[in-house]
Amino acid sequence: MTKKMDDGPLRDELILHPIEKRILLFLTKSGPASFAAIAEKTALDEGAVAKAAQWLALKNLVKVEENITDKKVELGYEGKIYAEKGLPERRLVDFLEKIGGEAELSDIRASGILSEDEIRIGVIWAKKNGWIEIIRKGDEAVLELKKYPKERTEEEIVLQLLKAGQRSLASLGPYASACERLSKRPNIVKITEEVIHVVSPTDMAIRMGDELLSAIEEVSQLTPELISSGKWREVAFSRYNLSAPVKPTYSARLHPLTMLIDMVKETFVEMGFEEVRGPLVELAFWNFDALFQPQDHPAREMHDTFYLANPSKGIPPAKFVDSVRRTHEDGGDTGSKGWGYKWSIEEASKLVLRTHTTATTIRYLSEHNEPPVRVFTVDRVYRNEKVDWKHLAELHQIEGILMDRSVSLRHLMGIIKEFYMRLGISNVRFRPSYFPYTEPSAEVEVLLGENNKWTELGGMGIFRPEVTRPLGVKYPVLAWGLGLERLAMAVFNLKDIRELYRNDLSWIRSVPINFSKVASRRRD
């Protein structure tokens, strides 16, 4: 590659952008000049001159030098006041001279010619200049005039010279150093440096002389015309400026929650589970009663569950009403003691926004009571809760059941562990827990998040006989209901759970599409 370029017809130094060419011709004719001067003479923009000069310097055709020759100076905020009233030290000694060469601080304060700040500044500088001395007499500090400056000081002259406005430091001539001394004091004078770039042609450029005129011109964009006319053979293309900033491009995105849900669904499909779907508005019968939740259970209270206004009631399935009723009342044929209360069909007919997706899997089970059953759903559930940074009223659950002849709690642990492993989370543990519809029950905890904390992600268990028998199910049913949003918060590193449903473009765009790698990187 390199060889070919060296041998090729185009020598680097001979490929010039039109702007570069114009600048070089000007410089070889008129000698070194600043960016500003070149811009003025060649009718180019100063920025363009600067850019082209950098390129020419790379081609060794010019030298660019930075000269900080020109310093501009002007009065600062305090300086303007002092130029009118005099420096504080001057006003101090003038006062001392007037009242007889000696005064207490309180006298000076009383005179009102200097503010409190100015007294402090004046005393410091008058003392530094050797004009006064401070003598303690009892409790009072007495200022004594040592040497009264009759002539104006250099600093004072500078203030007067600058009264007319900004000028160059050099133009102050012998007073320049006094000006620099003043610049050390706050807000009196402001010195600004101006950097001048001087561009001069290199010896090589001067030697080349007219050869430059015949240099090939550079183009920055290949066009259809250049291709079809074949002219691309005669031009040179400029090299990329790698540091030039570009306008950002944003892709259209799937919502991060959808990406996570798809990932979860895929995982269960991979593990041999079939997706099911159930109603969002659900009969209390399926949401609670079929799951052996007694009708006075606190979860059924108005402040926990959303009830529908109109219609507010539906029809529980006649096929199961009686067996469920008996199970609640005295255990029925399930071998249970039951809850021992009078079950009401009114209560079971109420319509609720389902509080868990178990309502959907239990419905499925009621229609499929022959083994094996392996189904899952990832869907919305509702809680009549006040929304804040860690609570939502509507969220998703990852739900599933497995029914077969001889499955156990250990198999359930295996399914859940495998599921999280596939999401890149390898630390999963289980703790005994309680749900009215499962026994044994467990809470699932995984190691998650930035600070690697054990986080409760949901519950699981084996459906109680009080749940399965009334539906005609004879074999153990492993069941789980895991939280999606809590997982999402950890995976997307969110502090506020509400962000998930705000659709803020800046957030959606900030989530990497391969976020699952983020979870797996935390594996150890």
Binding site: A252, V281, P311, P440, E443, N503
Partner: protein, 551 residues
């Protein structure tokens, strides 16, 4: 879940040996409590509501003794007979029909243990008592009580007494109206002609259940003997609460004495702390856990759970103490055994059941449509199906009729369910006002619809909505996108001019599929944009996918 504060040194007192906080955390986790917070010398834990016997440190320590191997098997409680009688007035049947009672003597209380007792009482009120409706507990300094004791129903203004925390005598009616406890619980007595009272032989009111006790018998750290009344609507529930209370007070050093409760039709001696016998088939229960358990190991595990267990023929016989009110079915012992062994000792297994995985058609179609929308440059939005009437109807200028409204909204933010996706997307545009335009969003999600033909009366319908917002958003732009969506999904959509309250007149259309209106498209009315605080033109399209015959 109810919470309890466990001071490590206090637990150690009940355990009868020292324990480190780390060991405590591990052990209570094994029991199934959730650690909420832990310090160097305390653990704040949450317990499951099926175990109200965990409402005291003594109760948790009892279980810990088992799991830590300090004491195993069922704890025994002796009930001494007393000649104290509690006579029940038949009139209480219509108010609060049941009462049980006990006396616990020889306690040595201090401020700390007194506080534990009160906290336990509150938890029991909530968990078993359903906020005092089902069960209410009265605890009294027995030295102030003069038996026999009466449980009576009387007219609300027929007595007066100084309520706990009060200064002056008040009638029950005044208590309900003027005290904070009264106003909090008076709903339980709503519509009752008579109110229930516990009264002693000197006619002093001890309790006005389920509202408040009399200050006369208030417990203090100097109280030695406690008289307990538990009233309620369910005999089993009040007995459960009493049993948990007295066994805990016993573990705190007290001696339990019975009370004769005399109803007009029966006579019961409470508390009844006799254990319950269960028989289980070990094979069945160990299959549920997934281990082949030798009987001796099962017995050990059950004893670690503070149960008595022995082998009887092919079965295991188990004695369950009276404070364990959670056992309903033989299956409950599977969990007892599993906890007794330790969940952490159970190695996960992969089930060999084979099945083929599959997605629902809605999920399959949704994936394809999402791909299409991304290809068209639209970013996906996800909004909640919970919405509010203002956003859903008022802002769009459409009437709220026959909609899925919530009966008991906790806030005005969510008082209905969405019937279209558009309001949610307009809100998304409003939230993104500060981000650069053009902005193009789509949402693919469910809306709710009434359908009297299904038992649950409402159905979810998959809908697709898109919005485009920039300074020159135009009809031709969105029409072109609609045509590409139709081409890609093989839809035969016809456009007819139609005005909608939320679109600009003459600048919107209905989309028909087989002559059924399946959607709308057009330019959002500036009055609607103003309500959503959007300052850019917006065009929108919404299609009800369930009406298109593609699902």
């Amino acid at each position: 879940m109810p919470a309890i504060m466990l001071k490590t040194n206090r637990i150690a007192e009940f355990l009868g040996r020292e324990i480190k906080t780390e060991e405590l955390i591990e052990a209570i986790r094994e029991l199934g409590l959730a650690i909420e917070e832990a310090g160097t010398d305390y653990v704040k834990a949450e317990y499951n509501p099926n175990r109200p016997d965990y409402s005291s440190i003594a109760g948790i320590a009892r279980a810990l003794q088992g799991i830590l191997g300090i004491k195993t098997g069922m704890p025994r409680y002796r009930v001494q007979k007393s000649d104290v009688k509690l006579i029940v007035d038949p009139k209480v049947k219509d108010v609060r029909p049941f009462v049980v009672s006990a006396i616990v003597k020889n306690l040595e209380l201090n401020d700390e243990s007194l506080e534990e007792i009160i906290a336990m009482q509150e938890d029991l009120h909530w968990i078993i008592g359903r906020d005092r409706r089902k069960v209410a507990i009265g605890l009294h300094d027995y030295s102030k009580v003069h038996p026999p004791i009466y449980y009576k129903a009387m007219l609300p203004d027929s007595v007066s007494f100084i309520p706990l925390g009060g200064r002056n005598k008040m009638t029950p009616k005044e208590i309900l109206e003027e005290t904070s406890t009264g106003s909090k619980y008076r709903w339980i007595l709503d519509g009752k002609k008579y109110f229930p009272f516990i009264i002693d032989s000197r006619n002093e009111v001890l309790s006005f259940p389920p509202i408040i006790n009399s200050s006369l018998t208030e417990l203090t750290s100097r109280t030695k003997d406690i008289f307990i009344d538990v009233t309620g609507t369910d005999f089993k529930a009040i007995s459960d609460a009493l049993n948990i209370l007295v066994t805990t007070l016993h573990d705190m050093g007290g001696t339990i004495y019975s009370v004769d409760v005399i109803y007009d039709d029966k006579h019961v001696i409470t508390p009844d702390l006799s254990s319950t016998k269960w028989r289980i088939n070990l094979k069945e229960q160990s299959a549920l856990i997934g281990i082949d358990l030798r009987p001796i190991h099962a017995l050990r595990a059950l004893r670690r759970m503070r149960l008595d267990a022995r082998i009887v023929g092919d079965e295991i016989e188990i004695d369950v103490p009276a404070y364990r009110i959670d056992i309903m079915h033989p299956v409950d012992f599977a969990e007892e055994i599993a906890i007794g062994i330790g969940y952490s000792q159970l190695t996960p297994l992969i089930p060999y059941t084979a099945n083929f995985g599959k997605l629902r058609p809605e999920s399959e179609l949704s994936r394809l449509i999402r791909l299409l929308m991304i290809g068209l440059g639209f970013t996906e939005a996800v909004n909640t199906t919970l919405s509010n009437k203002q956003k859903e109807y008022e802002f769009l200028g459409i009437p709220n009729t026959g909609s899925p409204n919530i009966l008991n909204p906790a806030s005005l933010e969510y008082d209905t369910l969405r019937v279209r996706l558009l309001p949610g997307l307009l809100e998304s545009l409003s939230i993104n006002k500060h981000n650069p335009t053009p902005q193009k969003f789509f949402e693919l999600g469910d809306v709710l619809q009434i359908d009297e033909s299904v038992p649950e009366r409402f159905v979810r319908r998959l809908s697709l909505c898109i919005v485009i917002s920039h300074s020159s958003a135009s009809f031709s732009e969105i029409k072109s996108i609609q045509e590409e969506i139709a081409r890609s999904l093989q839809l035969d959509l016809k456009m007819i001019a139609k005005d909608y309250p939320f679109m600009m007149p003459g600048r919107s259309v209905a989309l028909l599929s087989n002559d059924v209106e399946a959607g709308y498209m057009g330019e959002i009315h500036p009055a609607v944009l103003e309500k959503f605080k959007i300052e850019m033109p917006v065009t929108a399209l919404e299609l009800n996918l369930s009406l298109l015959g593609i699902l």
